[in-house]
Amino acid sequence: MITLSGISIGYGSRTLVKDISFTLAPGELVLLCGPNGSGKSSLLREIAKRFRSECAMVPTRIPKLKGFTARDFLRNSLFDRGYGRGEGIDQSLQTLGLEHLAQRDISTLSDGEFQKLCIASGLVRKPSCLLLDEPTAFLDAENRVLVVDCLQRLSREQGLTILFSSHDLHESAPRADWVFAIAPDGTFHIGGSEVIKKAFPNI
């Protein structure tokens, strides 16, 4: 259970969103949406910082560097946990159906495969809550659906709490258990997918 109470998000002296309070229950899939620069990434980082032991965060735009296998990449995620003995890595790859890619160089993976691997890099840390910053960014429509499917499956089957940010509101919002929407004026709305209309009336 992740409970935030009265936190504010901003850059330096500028506050973007004030007095945020909500609770993420186990197994919930929650969409975080808002315009660019509204504080979505800052909110995810703040949660990751406050709940370091429970949460694993996967940042956006991780480069697909040549010379790292999928297994090497997941081992990197265990930086502060000592060298992974391999079982956590294998388990994460299996959970996402990526075991056949374990020895593949990550630079040769498709964008969809790599995004799933990034999710696996969060899972390998065995968190109770996964925070994903725009996991569907730069993906085509088919891969966006596959990634959101995968998140839904993880929350339902593994009981993992997932908070993910996205701009693909029409595809992601109906699949989420609830939505946290940051409006352009800095106010926020919590609820079902209908809150998107409240937060962004022009969409």
Partner: protein, 322 residues
């Protein structure tokens, strides 16, 4: 990797043997004193300098996420050279004799340059940082040129021959100093190998997996500065090994994982330095090793630049991404 390492090790041994024979206008094995006082120290210096510079280059390429980063290009060698010039030219020849004060001056200047690069690296992109490093090198070079006007003739002669770069003329005490810097620097690099892996994926990623980008940067910079300073102080500003060797190593072990790349990089650097030293010493009049290294290294750097994996937009290899 399992096959590559012994092959490269054997190639380095063959090159070391050839370098031992190179001199006096061709290949010949000299008599006792010449062998032990000139050839053996030269070969040992080439091996140690190649290892040290390649390890420094591998760390800087990871830290700055730039395939062309190395102590020479990024101005750290230039800083060390200016420090050495200050000790030898401004103060006089008295200090030139003292290896320790030369290393101290070169190290201090190299470390200050490295600190400046780290401070600037958090504000600019990898490409801008590279240009900054090149410009910094020009500034140091200009400062060293100004110092030359104030120097005495005998100091100038020593300084010019030092600037040309050479693995020859080192004494065993100096070799021990370079070896000690290499041991300390490589221990730091190996301890930091996993940190270098994660920082390649960006600072935010590194922080999320529990690493401290600041600690990784500091340890790498101390390691690279220590090794670069020790080599530059005794061999002069020797370039290109630090850029080329890590790329050869990544290709040889088909990996960018630093625990694998760093040892192979060390061997590739030793091999390159030995090849350049052979090329410098097979003539009746020995050539400056800085020039032969440029002849060997620059075509390789051009090949690296023309590779698709070097282009950031492809998001592959160690490309400059912020």
């Amino acid at each position: 990797m399992k096959r590559t390492l012994p092959i490269i090790a054997v190639a380095v041994l063959v090159l070391a043997g050839a370098d031992l024979l190179a001199g006096g206008g061709g290949f010949s094995l000299p008599e006792g004193v010449l062998l032990w006082k000139l050839r053996v120290p030269r070969v040992l210096t080439a091996i140690l300098a190649g290892c040290a510079l390649s390890l420094s280059g591998a760390q800087m390429q990871a830290l700055f996420r730039n395939p062309l980063a190395d102590p020479h290009i990024m101005g750290v060698s230039g800083g060390a050279a200016l420090g050495a010039a200050l000790a030898s030219l401004a103060v006089g020849t008295g200090l030139w004799i003292s290896g320790v004060s030369m290393v101290a001056a070169a190290f201090a200047a190299a470390f200050l340059t490295a600190l400046l690069l780290v401070a600037v690296s958090s504000r600019v992109s990898g490409n801008t940082l590279l240009i900054f490093g090149v410009l910094l090198g020009f500034v140091f070079s200009a400062a060293a040129s100004i110092l030359q006007f104030t120097a005495r003739e005998e100091s100038l002669k020593l300084f010019y021959s030092w600037m040309a770069g050479s693995f020859a003329g080192t004494r065993y005490l100096e070799i021990i100093i370079i070896w000690a810097a290499l041991v300390a620097g490589s221990v730091m690099a190996l301890v930091n190998a996993r940190g270098l892996d994660v920082i390649l994926f960006g600072e935010e990623y590194a922080t999320m997996v529990g690493a401290s980008p600041k600690n990784i940067r500091t340890l790498s910079m101390i390691s690279a500065s220590l090794m670069t300073a020790a080599v530059t102080a005794f061999c002069g500003p020797v370039g290109f090994v630090g850029i080329v060797a890590p790329h050869l190593a990544r290709r040889a072990c088909a990996s960018s994982v630093h625990a694998r790349v760093l040892p192979v990089s060390c061997l590739c650097g030793a091999g390159l330095a030995l090849a350049a030293d052979i090329l410098a010493n097979v003539w009746a009049i020995p050539l400056p090793v800085g020039s032969t290294l440029a002849l060997v290294g620059i075509p390789m750097i051009i090949a690296i630049l023309l590779e698709p994996s070097c282009h950031p937009e492809r998001s592959r290899g160690i490309s400059s991404q912020k």
